[in-house]
């Protein structure tokens, strides 16, 4: 088949259908380092503009932290740029093991294995550990990478209503005959910002002899008094069998992820997880930077404390301005707009006011649940938040939604 006679037309039509469905994603180009304030070229070709970033996963503000950058430079000098190998051939340096030990201590687990990303960790862990005799029972709002990982595994799959413990228990009873029943959940749910009820989940697991899998990517480094994660917040450290998490968000934001947990399960990943076996080692400079991040988060809780204060201030300010927020106590604060077109226009208007916040709509979130997901950072200063709240108030007033709740907004704009 020639590309020009048939295939190009096919893919152009596919892309056009994505465009006409309003689902076409475009990148906005940043011309600065990641931070609370960034320079963005938008629309393409426009002169770069300084805006306040309200949509990064840079929760602890470490993406461009001078100590992390310095440590990464030193790592580059001392251990080189890349490993040109997967881990088990000739891609494991002393610093990879050092970082794995630090993560094990920090997460309160038995062992840890680094992956190129948490997407890869989730892609590999289920297939490596579970099989046809088992069942994976997932919260319906888990991250897409978990859905993909589960699909690669031969275990039976089931789901329970979001954070609905009664429904989860029904499923545990329904699948009582399976060898292993694994409860699968996120710690902090990325679209809504709410926390899993991990204490109740751990109790259910104990009562029904099940295992618990937790993806704590939106929690590691800042949820819990010492920032160890949702399991610390819920008082269940040591009771979670598998934790996956990322270095690509709060923990410096470069890349890399891990599977951490019961020693034998981590070892199964080392033997069998395909993204570990067939993809490159995390690069030395990133490992060196991440070790510095571990130092920073272990040394002091100052940054996670500031993040918590920022989130509370932001939530209070937007709420008083009359915006409709999803309730929660994480630094993910979704401003609910319900209508997809309104979310897109709102995001554009915010940008004009110097605030970078992205609209999310179906299929990323359910129909009629469109929103601007705002995310706080320890790098935000009070003035950033005040400017952001003023912008939301102004744009909210422009669209006439201040003080309105779901039904009223839907009545005005439709689904």
């Amino acid at each position: 088949m020639s590309w020009e006679t048939k295939a190009r037309a096919h893919f152009r039509a596919e892309l056009d259908s994505i465009r006409s469905a309003g689902l076409f994603k475009e990148e906005r180009v940043i011309r600065s380092v990641q931070g609370a304030e960034i320079e963005v070229e938008y629309p393409p070709g426009a002169p770069p503009r300084k805006v306040i970033n309200m949509c990064a996963n840079n929760y602890l503000g470490l993406s461009s932290h001078p100590e992390v950058v310095r440590a990464a430079h030193a790592g580059l000098d001392e251990r080189g740029y890349g490993m040109s190998s997967v881990r088990f051939i000739c891609g494991t340096q002393d610093i990879h093991h050092r970082l794995e030990r630090r993560l094990t201590e920090f997460l309160g687990t038995e062992d840890t294995l680094l992956f190129p990303s948490c997407m890869d960790a989730n892609g590999g862990v289920f297939e490596a550990c579970f099989g046809e005799q088992d069942v994976l029972i997932a919260d319906r709002l888990v991250h897409a990478s978990i859905v993909d990982g589960m699909r690669l595994c031969k275990a039976m799959q089931d789901t329970f209503k979001h954070s609905d413990m009664a429904h989860l228990e029904e499923k545990l009873i329904e699948h009582a005959g399976r060898r292993f029943r694994v409860i699968v959940t996120d710690g902090v749910f990325s679209m809504d910002g709410d926390l899993a009820r991990l204490d109740a989940i751990a109790d259910l697991a104990e009562r029904h002899d099940a295992l618990v899998f937790l993806d704590d990517s939106h929690a590691t480094g800042f949820i819990g008094k010492k920032g160890r994660g949702t399991h610390e917040h819920c008082g269940v450290v040591g009771r979670i069998d598998i934790i996956t998490t990322t270095l690509g968000k709060a923990m410096g934001g470069a890349s890399g992820g891990c599977v951490s947990g019961r020693r034998e399960l981590v070892e199964m990943c080392r033997q069998r997880a395909r993204p570990y076996l067939f993809s490159n080692s995390v690069a030395p400079e990133i490992v060196a930077g991440a070790l510095q991040v571990m130092d920073l988060v272990s040394r002091s809780t100052e940054r996670r404390d500031r993040l918590e204060e920022n989130a509370a201030y932001w939530r209070k300010g937007l709420s008083e301005a009359g915006l409709d927020l999803r309730p929660g106590d994480s630094p993910i604060v979704p401003v609910m707009l319900y209508n997809a077109k309104l979310a897109q226009e709102f995001s554009r208007d915010l940008f004009q006011e110097g605030i970078y916040g992205v609209g999310f709509f179906f299929p990323v979130v359910p129909k009629g649940q469109a929103r601007i997901r705002t995310q706080l950072s320890a790098a935000h200063e009070r003035r950033h938040l005040d400017l952001g709240i003023a912008a939301f108030r102004k744009v909210g007033a422009k669209h006439g939604i201040l003080g309105l709740k779901r039904k009223e907004i839907l009545a005005k704009f439709g689904e």
Binding site: R140, V147, D158, T159, K161, H162, F362, P363, K367, G368
Partner: protein, 87 residues
Amino acid sequence: MDPMRQAILDYVKREYLEEDDDREVDASTRLISGGIVDSFSMVSLKRFLERKYAISIPDADASPEAFDTVESIARLVERFTAAKAKA
């Protein structure tokens, strides 16, 4: 509504709607394209049908289109139960 459609509808409501969900669901409501059921959570519905009606639905037949309404699901089940009766 016949007993099969009623049983499927009852299952869909119990399995997929939240307690505070005020959406009206009937035999023609779009479940997948309407965002009530997604491909990830659809597996339990397929398993329910297979168990209740003692059939096996190949993955190729369990398409989002076939599972989009209670009506289309019932027709799919009827096709498999009829094939089983013949065999």
